[in-house]
């Protein structure tokens, strides 16, 4: 298909994209887009440095390969390079979203009707001052070809809708949203009761939320909050590119080290359906299940071929690029906390005074991680009590991992329509996350 230069490793990723976006504000159509394009990202490696090119002209790929080759240094021993040796080679088509499962086959009108049909649930309330409904879909068919012999075609698909609303009751204000992502358009149908339930909670929060007394509390995280915690606090630390070149960090992060409570296991797996579904990563590695923590013990980390070679570990299928404009870097796919042995009632039953974080605006994770709750509640005498307004929940990552003292049996993987993970310049990358309800002994709440 392409003439790859001798003495160099080369791969080409062609993205054939179909996408739709629709926006309705206060019942009026604001924007509708349905578009298709093809574009490519080319990588070339000479054993010392990588050279990349991103182009929206797929007819120029061969020319781009040659241009990159002209600035690289030919390496007769490229096949002995540990990174070259790590690359997997696959040949075949792995298309999942074809026929009626493809958003391309779904009429634009049907997508607009979906939003219009849900809108009255929100629009009729006296508390709603502004509402917006968004629909998006994105089908990407990727062809990946490498000088090592890979020739694969696979696809991913994200479909989602969000209804966001600004609520006001006199001086009380609150902004919230219902957001649902999926792989299939059909799964966005029949959500009326879920939207009503979320909207009802938002109104309750608007009218009843009280000030929080800042301090340390036992905190119960919902699957959404637990998933963000796992992603931000530990998932990013598991991305091995952060370890390269720091021997002391390699020592500090030795596989087998105890890093958390014995009931805690965190997994990343690109083969799980949802918005983190990544059957192959962007250097042609097949998705794998990777335990980051297993029963409190550091068990694995996430890799590209480069980081796997540098640390002498195996590939995990986590080299991902936001789109054709970017090179793959180590990213999560679907990251979640495994379930435990309790029911939700059991989890909160002996908490005298604590906090339940149900929904989030955002989270972050350095040594001190943060969760910015949207809706949170007091727990009093083992029961969910009044809603409370919280700016931010913080904790030290490693102390918190060791202070996880209870997990429910049921695990929920969350899928959102908009947003995603940000790393360096590449935002927002679709990821999946989730977990059970998680009880943490003590966190700072402000």
């Amino acid at each position: 298909m392409f003439k790859f230069p001798e003495g160099l490793y080369t791969d080409v990723r062609i993205e054939d994209v179909f996408q739709t976006s629709i926006q309705i504000t206060m019942g009026k159509l604001d924007d509708v887009k349905e578009k298709s394009y093809k574009a490519a990202f080319i990588r070339l490696y000479d054993g010392k440095r990588w050279y990349y090119s991103s182009t929206s002209d797929v007819d120029s790929i061969q020319k781009e390969i040659e241009a990159l080759a002209s600035i690289a240094c030919k390496n007769e021993n490229i096949k002995e390079d540990p990174i070259f040796q790590r690359f997997e080679v696959h040949k075949s088509e792995f298309l999942k979203f074809t026929g009626k499962d493809s958003v391309k086959e779904c009429a634009l009108n049907e997508k607009m009707e979906l939003l219009k049909n849900y809108s009255p649930i929100i629009a009729s309330s006296e508390y709603v001052k502004l509402w917006r409904a968004n629909y998006i879909d994105l089908h990407v068919k990727k062809s990946f070809h490498s000088s090592k012999g890979s020739n694969i075609v696979f696809d991913t698909q994200r479909v989602g809708m969000r209804i966001s609303y600004e609520l006001s009751d006199g001086d009380r204000k609150f902004a919230d949203r219902f957001d649902r992502g999926s792989n299939y358009f059909s799964q966005l149908k029949g959500l009326e009761e879920e939207i009503k339930s979320r909207f009802g909670k938002s109104i309750h929060f608007l009218k009843e939320a009280a000030e929080i007394k800042p301090g340390k509390y036992t905190v119960v995280l919902s699957p959404e909050a637990a998933g963000v915690f796992a992603h931000e606090s530990f998932g990013h630390k598991s991305e091995s590119d952060f370890m390269i070149g720091d021997k002391s960090m390699e020592e500090e992060w030795k596989i087998g080290k105890k890093v958390g409570s014995e009931i805690l296991s965190i997994v990343d797996d690109g083969s799980i359906m949802g918005t983190g579904y990544t059957p192959f990563d962007d250097e042609g590695t097949k998705a794998k299940e990777t335990y980051l923590i297993k029963k409190g013990v550091l068990s694995g980390r996430l890799h590209s071929a480069k980081t796997a070679a540098a640390l002498g570990e195996g590939l995990t299928g986590n080299a991902r690029a936001l789109n054709f404009e970017f090179e793959p870097i180590v990213r999560m796919t679907t990251t979640f906390i495994k379930g435990g042995d309790k029911t939700f009632e059991e989890l909160i039953s002996d908490i005298k005074e604590g906090i339940f974080v149900e929904t989030l605006k955002h989270g972050s994770g350095m040594s001190t991680f943060t969760l910015a709750p949207s809706m949170a509640y007091m727990i009093r005498d083992g029961k969910i009590a009044e809603p409370v307004k919280i700016s931010v929940v913080t904790g030290n990552v490693f102390e918190t991992l060791n202070e996880i003292e209870g997990l429910t049996k049921d695990v929920k993987i969350l899928e959102f329509a908009l947003g995603g993970c940000g790393k360096f310049e590449q935002f927002p990358l679709p990821v999946g996350f989730g977990g059970p309800y998680v009880r943490v002994k003590s966190l700072n709440v402000r």
């Binding site: 924007d31 990588w50 050279y51 600004e166 006001s168 991305e239 350095m366 943060t370 700016s391 360096f424």
Partner: protein, 411 residues
Amino acid sequence: MIKEKYTEKTSQIALNIENSKVESVRRKDITKTAIRVYSENKMGVAGGLGKVDEEELAEKAIKALDFDIHYPVEPTSDLEMNIVYHADFSDSDEFVNEIEELLLEISKEQPDFIFSNKATLTTTENSLNNNLGLNLFHRGTSINVGLIFKRKGSGNIFDGFVGYNGLKYDRKEFLNLTNEICEAFKNNIEEFKPGRYPVVFLQSDSIYLMKLYRDLHGLIFATGGSLLSGKIGQKLFSENFTLYQTRNHADGFYGPFFDLEGVVTPEFRYPLIENGILRSPYTNKKTAKLFNLPHTGAAGGEYDSVPDVAAYPMSLKESDKTLEELLDGRKGIFVLVASGGDFTPDGKFATPVQLPFLFDGKKFIGKLPELNISSNLFDMFGKDFIGVGKNNLTPLGPSRAVIMEMDVSKI
């Protein structure tokens, strides 16, 4: 029929820096084109990547009128402007060589640290033309060197950053800045008493302005969902507090000088809050017209979108005092990294500061333990607002800092 063409071209050399060395070189050359048509208070848009057939796009845009997207505004007309500028590098090879040499020197001078992330030389070209005499053209090349640093042996994925975004480049000044930050990082100041302190933010740090970005959004404001709704003309903040929506180079903005509707504001700014008085939320033409609000020229969106209200960067008017004079002999807490905090719906603010430095108005003295800072919107920019220093933190380019009094405690 009124027809408009918008193009966006990006050419970029991006150097990925890993382990204090250039690990990869990425070239990007992407063109995006959109055609918009206006007819009977409606707009139709169609866009494409790379080489496009403009006639075909125009046909698609006309067909998009069938979506019936209400757009009751007059397109900008009879305006011709052309602004072209270039950063301090003549070509990409010179840029690659310079960054390699810079990294060598940084590694020698700061051997305890590992540097990573990106250095980019980016040219953006934007043009907007229509058949009513609108001809706007912007082409600018700017430099961005953003280095994340990690002290060897640190358990963090990163410890801090040093960066610069602008047109001028000076290796010596970048090294000075890097050395000052790294040396301060190594000087641990363990002792800290909770209390009220002057807290210093880089003006470009958006965390302290999050609530204003949200509550000054034209639609949220106009429909009553903002804490500031209905308060135009009221004095809500300090006399010293003036907030602009900006597309001005002096504020560190290097994008096009016009918005997505082709609107150019005087001095490329618009005062949203002036001497503490709320003047306007930020608006595009449609929102301003529908809700009878001032029009601030804040239309944005993707290149092929129907223009919507968009948050452009905000900047604060500087005072006539230096940071040292504003601190008036006190030591401030400089927020170098604060991630994850937020405001409650009623304006209370709290965030952890993962990397705070003690700061005397001229230099960073040392690294403080991780802190919590808290306040609320009306105090931060009201009675507790101290001001924006007239001086830049580095001679490299726009790098002003803002000071306000806050409650500070140890995490």
